[in-house]
């Protein structure tokens, strides 16, 4: 069997375009997902039922449906209800962001709840309102505990970017498919794509391990 990586190297432009696409959708979904997640997470933490139940419904729905189904729904189904089309990037970004928001909401809620009640007491006793206590005292302490889980989420988002290839968004896997079909070298093409992902993600995964160890010691 002859391995033909040369044709892969010939297509570095295509792969670079793919990498750019992957990074773009990763950045969008990371920012949107994690910030929306904070809002929803606070809603899950609230006592007010007008905040709690919608947030809970959101989390349950988007955690218990597959992302690919959501992406296809946004790409094929939503445009029927709207007067405009949805681009592959928009459909994929919507699906991945909403899913990430739902998962990170639970991370935020868990982190905030893990902060000892006494910290709230100490903050309120010097006259802080709820918002001040959350911002100055509780969240800063909670974020530290949530960091490993949040970086895990980031890793998952990066991996989910490949789902955008199902609607032909130009990212790494989509380019891999292109190269494989043009050069009849699926082994080299898909191995190359896998290696690129590994190279991107391995440092992040190691960083997460290190975070877990560091924080495990500090607590």
């Amino acid at each position: 069997m002859k391995w033909d990586f040369a044709s892969v190297f010939d297509n570095t432009d295509a792969l670079l375009a793919g990498a750019a696409g992957t990074l773009r959708i990763f950045a969008i979904c990371l920012v949107c997902g994690l910030s929306l997640g904070l809002v929803i997470g606070l809603g899950r933490y609230a006592h007010n039922k007008w905040l709690y139940w919608p947030a809970t419904a959101f989390v349950e729905f988007f955690r218990n449906t597959p992302v690919l189904v959501q992406i296809l729904w946004f790409y094929f189904a939503l445009p029927i209800l709207l007067p405009f089309t949805i681009s592959p990037l928009a459909a994929a970004a919507l699906g991945i962001s909403l899913n990430s928001a739902a998962f990170s909401a639970e991370i935020y809620r868990g982190g905030i709840q893990s902060i000892d009640r006494g910290q709230w007491d100490g903050a309120r006793a010097i006259g802080m309102g709820w918002g001040q206590a959350m911002r100055r005292i509780v969240l800063p302490q909670a974020i530290r505990r949530m960091l490993p889980a949040l970086t895990n989420r980031a890793i998952e988002i990066f991996k989910m970017s490949t789902l955008a290839s199902a609607v032909a968004y130009v990212e790494l896997l989509q380019q891999g498919k292109l190269i494989a079909s043009l050069n009849f070298n699926p082994i080299e093409a898909y191995t190359a794509v896998a290696v690129i992902f590994f190279v991107f993600l391995w440092p992040l995964v190691q960083f997460t391990y290190m975070l877990e160890r560091r924080l495990g010691r500090g607590e």
Binding site: D121, R124, A125, I126, Q141
Partner: protein, 246 residues
């Protein structure tokens, strides 16, 4: 005129009546020690006075004005009525001086420089000027509680509430905290003190209240309550406390 007036204070937890209609007047400069068995409602009473717990019924009047239920009003009340906790509740991600400054900066909106100057003074007053840059994790229990007191003092409270301030401390650290509280008493500060340190209460308090079953069972001067209690229940309580005294 009294600084704090409480009428008919009632609080229920999960179907239990913890406080059953407490009436209390606190005059300026009074130092009131609150004694009672666990579950008698001592902490709950204190926590209702600065609305860390919401009373189910009754009124609390501070300086002639009855306190309403709106959060904006309550945060103001909590600045005027300071609290020191059994578990200190220091903010672990801030240094000692950071803890003391936090209320001034975030709640009062003061500049960092102004807050820092004031915080340094308060830390010096409790004897911890040299620990300003230390994080709570590296402080002893007694030091942590003194920082907590400095934090409460920085807000210029008209009244201080101490919720078993030394109960979580190792015995040899209790003295340094009681010393600070005593110096505050000698300055004439108004304070309510929930404590098991009967000797301290005797020397520092102007009035002693014994709480049982959610009501004030007996109250009077330290001599009256601690040396010659009239009611049987008070006697039993004090006797159990003296069981193993030297």
């Amino acid at each position: 005129m009294s600084l704090l007036t409480v009428r008919g204070l009632t609080k229920r937890f999960a179907g239990n009546d913890v406080l059953r209609g407490i009436d209390l007047d606190v005059a300026q400069g009074e130092r009131i020690a609150i004694l009672g068995a666990s579950g008698s409602g001592k902490s709950t009473l204190l926590r209702c006075l600065n609305f860390m717990e919401m009373p189910d019924a009754g009124t609390v009047t501070l300086d002639g004005k009855t306190v309403g239920r709106r959060e904006s009003e309550l945060t103001l009340v909590r600045q005027r009525v300071g609290m020191v906790f059994q578990q200190f509740n220091l903010f672990p991600h801030m240094t000692a001086i950071g803890n003391v400054m936090e209320g001034l900066c975030t709640v009062r909106g003061q500049s960092k420089a102004t807050a820092r100057a004031r915080a340094e003074k308060e830390l010096a007053r409790v004897g911890l000027a040299d620990k300003a840059g230390t994080y709570p994790a590296h402080l002893s229990g007694g030091q942590k509680q003194r920082v907590a007191i400095a934090r409460a003092l920085a807000m210029d409270p008209e009244m201080l509430l101490f919720d078993e301030p030394t109960s979580a401390l190792d015995p040899e650290l209790v003295g340094e905290v009681l010393g600070v509280i005593r110096s505050l008493a000698e300055e004439g500060r108004t304070m309510l003190l929930v404590t098991h340190e009967l000797g301290f209460a005797y020397h520092v308090a102007t009035r002693v209240i014994f709480l049982a079953d959610g009501t004030i069972h007996e109250q009077g001067t330290p001599d009256e309550i601690l040396k010659n209690p009239r009611k049987e229940r008070t006697r039993v309580f004090l006797a159990s406390h003296r069981q193993f005294s030297l």
